[in-house]
């Protein structure tokens, strides 16, 4: 499934949004579960059920590898954010083993856009790249 740029397929929309939750593919279901676990701060569950033991997560600011590092990273990351609310998923693309999205999210620093890309092996993430578009938009 390819969603044209600008088309909203918000999977975990703002509760006040009129956008409906649309889940039509296994990858979207995986992503929805991912955000739900993150939102619930179930980092142990998130990492052990969604990432390979040798998985890597990297961005401009951090690079972590393996379950233990990932669990610590997600705890620290969401702690810094205070909260992370996905307002809309603005771009989405998926294939057999990869998916990527750009989303608009609200954090304590303001509203900004993020991008994430995933490579999955045997249904679990093995490489995860993430960043902001641009990061300064988070600064109000």
């Amino acid at each position: 499934m390819i969603v044209a740029p600008g088309t909203s397929v918000a999977l975990t929309p703002d509760p006040n949004s009129k956008i409906k939750i649309v889940i039509t593919t296994p990858m979207q279901h995986f992503y929805e579960e991912h955000v739900t676990l993150l939102d619930a701060r179930d980092f142990e569950g998130l990492v052990r059920t969604h990432y390979q033991p040798d998985a890597q997560v990297m961005s401009n600011d951090y690079q972590v590898r393996g379950h233990d590092e990932l669990i610590r990273h997600f705890a620290k990351y969401t702690g810094l954010m205070a909260y992370l609310q996905v307002i809309s998923t603005d771009k989405w693309v998926e294939g057999d083993s990869t998916f990527a999205f750009e989303a608009t999210a609200r954090t304590q620093w303001g509203v900004g856009r993020v991008h994430d890309a995933f490579w999955l092996r045997d249904g679990l993430i093995v490489r995860h790249f993430t960043g902001a578009i641009p990061a300064t938009r988070f600064l109000r």
Binding site: M58, K91, G95, E102, H115, R127, F129, I133, P134
Partner: protein, 268 residues
């Protein structure tokens, strides 16, 4: 006037008008654009170069004043393909934000470390009075100078660029040079390229993707502002010249056994 001088140890003889500034001579006539023009009035230090080993602001000198001199610009501060300890320390200490002042800072601080091998923090800050950073990056620059002294003391003086950086630079070279065959050879036979235009898999599909006007001078990566590597992965943010103007892009690569197995790309 005809003048002769060396730039990064290469001899040059040029005809230059007496009114041309040294910075313009370097950038416009010798095509060394690593030296930046910021204020153009001797204030900001973006244009600092070494003239006979002494750091000077090249916008405050005429080109003809370089006659007979040995000039070193940021391009020549370390041998090709290597970074000197100060450059390594700048990278490690995140002493770069937008990067515009960085060439001048590196050159100026190289002179500092030659003049005062073990400067105090006060001496570092005083030396940097002539180099303005409007990203407020001085703290990490000071840390980088201190780290550079440790690196220089503990390791070989020039550190090679990583294999991943060489791979990426080579990739950009063939992409910008429209060498489609060489570009496709950078990918594994079952490589997956994921963009928001779609996902393509394998050499033929990747070839078709790039054949469709996505390489060459009209789609050249003109600057890579961020390059981060971790294990077998690379994350970059780059400025790309397109027929529609400048685009800011991000790319992620997984490189295994010297070949790209997965690539993600998007426009910021």
């Amino acid at each position: 006037m005809r003048i002769s001088f060396t730039v990064n140890q290469q001899p040059h003889t040029v005809e230059v008008e007496p009114r041309v500034l040294l910075v313009d001579l370097l950038r416009d006539h010798i095509n060394l654009t690593g030296t930046k023009v910021g204020c153009d009035s001797g204030q900001c230090g973006s244009c600092v170069i070494l003239k006979d080993g002494i750091s000077v602001k090249s916008c405050a000198l005429l080109g003809v004043q370089a006659d007979g001199a040995a000039i070193t610009t940021i391009e020549g501060i370390s041998p090709a393909g290597t970074m000197n300890p100060l450059q390594v320390a700048f990278q490690a200490a995140h002493a770069v934000q937008c990067g515009f002042c960085t060439p001048g800072m590196i050159i100026s601080l190289t002179d500092l470390l030659v003049t005062i091998p073990h400067p105090t923090e006060h001496q570092i800050r005083a030396w940097l009075a002539g180099n303005l950073c409007r990203c407020t990056g001085y703290e990490n620059v000071v840390r980088a100078v201190n780290a550079a002294q440790q690196i220089a003391a503990s390791e070989a003086h020039f550190l090679p660029m990583s294999a991943m950086r060489h791979f990426y630079d080579s990739y950009v070279g063939v992409l910008n040079g429209s060498d489609l065959t060489a570009l496709v050879e950078r990918y594994s036979p079952d490589a997956v390229l994921t963009t928001f235009e779609g996902i393509v898999t394998g050499h033929e599909a990747i070839r078709s993707y790039f054949e469709d006007g996505r390489m060459g001078a009209e789609n050249a990566i003109i600057a890579t502002e961020k390059f981060i590597e971790f294990g077998d992965s690379i994350y970059t943010e780059s400025s790309v010249r397109t027929p529609h103007g400048l685009a800011h892009t991000y790319h992620a690569f997984v490189v295994q056994d010297g070949l790209i197995t997965h690539q993600f790309a998007g426009v910021k």
